[in-house]
Subunit: 351 residues, 2 copies
């Protein structure tokens, strides 16, 4: 229950200690809700240019840290840098979102790790610069998409409601799909390792489309590949701090994910009960989450009640305050400042 | 464990008895995957015309029953008949899906129950005709959308990924939103009562967007309104057989839904473990579900394994075989026939 400096606060959670007040950062904290982000975005001309230009990625990563007393910066980047490194074309179109070229035969993917490192060098340079620019009391978070979520993008070409055609592809082509997951496990692990080398204190694995999978598929496509990634990362960085986010996983799914993947922490989505998570998972994993992004937009009593619900549910639990999904563009920045100060003021709630 | 006639098989599950082999029907069993449906749809000119013309609704409702040895027919209709009855314009546009006019001030909604009954009379007439045409060994299922799912459509105007703007509306306008839910509870209950009067043996409440809601919102927007609907229906039909489908609800959510709403049965989505459901809910509720619609598209060993997983998980549990979501258009009809015969052949598995 020590308070200490902010960096100690964030990283000491990884000793599986409840920290009071809870450390806080927000998924998509660098983003369109900030006018200074909009200005950089306009100057850059495209989302992808921002991801791939170290100066710009550094700038937008630091913007929320300048405004708010957050405990961690998360590198401004995108999960689709991995398909890009593998040689599959990725475009970000305004108002449409990312579009990935059709999946080529696997033999035509670029499997040369040196090429991956070259193509993604701007990402690692941006991360190293942010770490250098960031006050020592802030933590630096790197991230990657999880193999299943990346595979779904690579197969479907764009975000979909329920990844039905990726499931169909996997059912119809089990051997090919398994090979694709293997390639992605290695690429994801190498990408996380490179970010740890560049100075990341923590890495997060985003499995945005872990929801809605049959139990057997969740085991084969979410849990097993994540365990592979964690194992490969820990072979290079035995003490790597790793958070997983199998979004919309069921409770059975979350219990197995925590027990079987080797992650230190698990991010909880808005729909999952944090009270349940604290009771069922809080002994085995650090919890993170799970404020409704729309409560953050709303503000006022709705926001305060939602924040307090989460703080009360996680008393005496190793816990990092976050959203259950990313910050949305219509979020008033002052609501973010309010949440941070409400969490700081809640130190009376023993975390 | 009696087998008996098919109708006895379906309805005897509502005595909370495991029935062997399990009765079976499929959500969206009347639909675009059937060539005869496509032909009727072409003749009708629009989806809405089919819903609102008793002859046509009867025809498409019966089509899958003629082809397959299913245990129940579900009326061909749409959850948006309720906003229509309330006077909010609803259009079905090809390739876009349903579009609902902007929500008017609640005072401008048509709250006259006699008007609802008049506007929806074609629905009740279709149901009565199907019940008359249906063999006595088949059950007839009526349905309605749940208040929260209907409210989200009425607020957002169309289907969305995560109902974020409906949540925001509810947070910002709690009194107005609560009044809208009250209106919908009554309209949904009256719609189900009218279907029971017309001859429905069972009614199902579809809460397609129950997923992703914070715990408190799930209690207020899903559980409480559903309990209201069930109570109002049972005041008119004390023995009404009611199945709820809070799709993508969490396990905590499902446990509370079963314990608190008064439904007899609960439909389980594809992502939820049927093994968990049988163990946690199977004593309190009839279970229904939860084959992945994409496994049904795939066929072969993938389909057989998925069917068998579900049958094994539900041994000795009162259970109705179904999908975890609706039949998709690319489904080969012969796969449906195969599933039905595999379930019939599995009577060795004690249900």
């Amino acid at each position: 229950m020590t308070e200490g400096e902010p960096k100690a606060r964030f990283l000491s959670v990884f000793d599986k200690k409840a920290v009071n007040p809870a450390p806080v950062w927000l998924m998509r904290q660098a983003g369109r809700y900030l006018p200074e982000y909009q200005a950089t975005r306009k100057k850059a001309g495209s989302f992808w240019t921002m991801c791939m230009t170290p100066d710009l990625a550094e700038e937008v990563t630091l913007q929320p840290i300048r405004r708010f007393d957050l405990d961690a910066a998360i590198l401004f980047s995108d999960i689709l840098v991995i398909p890009h490194a593998l040689g599959q074309g990725v475009r970000f179109e305004d108002g449409i979102g990312p579009v990935v070229d059709p999946l080529p035969p696997l033999a035509e993917l670029d499997l040369n790790e040196d090429h991956w490192a070259e193509k993604l060098d701007p990402v690692y340079e941006a991360l190293a610069r942010v770490r250098g620019a960031l006050a020592c009391d802030k933590a630096m978070i790197g991230f990657a998409g999880a193999p299943w979520t990346l595979a779904a993008y690579m197969i479907e070409g764009h975000g979909t409601k329920d990844q039905a055609s990726a499931r169909l592809f996997a059912y119809r082509n089990p051997v090919l799909f398994s090979s694709l997951l293997d390639i992605l496990c290695h690429a994801v692990a190498q990408h996380l390792i490179a970010q740890l080398k560049a100075g990341a204190d923590v890495v997060q694995i985003f499995d945005s489309w872990a929801g809605g999978l049959p139990e057997r598929s969740f085991a084969e496509w979410v849990i097993a590949p994540t365990r592979h990634v964690v194992t490969e990362v820990r072979a290079a960085f035995p003490k790597a701090r790793i958070i997983g986010f199998p979004r919309q996983a069921t409770q059975v799914g979350l219990e197995r994910y925590v027990a079987q993947t080797g992650v230190d922490g698990v991010s909880i989505d808005t729909g999952t009960s944090m009270e349940w998570a604290a009771s069922a998972l809080g002994k085995a994993a650090i919890l993170q989450g799970n404020l409704d992004p729309m409560a953050l937009v709303t503000g006022g009593a709705v926001l305060d009640r939602a924040v307090d619900d989460i703080l009360h549910a996680t008393v005496n639990t190793p816990f990092i305050f976050n959203l259950g999904h990313g910050v949305v563009p219509q979020t008033p920045p002052e609501h973010v400042a309010h949440v941070v100060s409400r969490i700081r003021a809640a130190e009376g709630i023993a975390h």
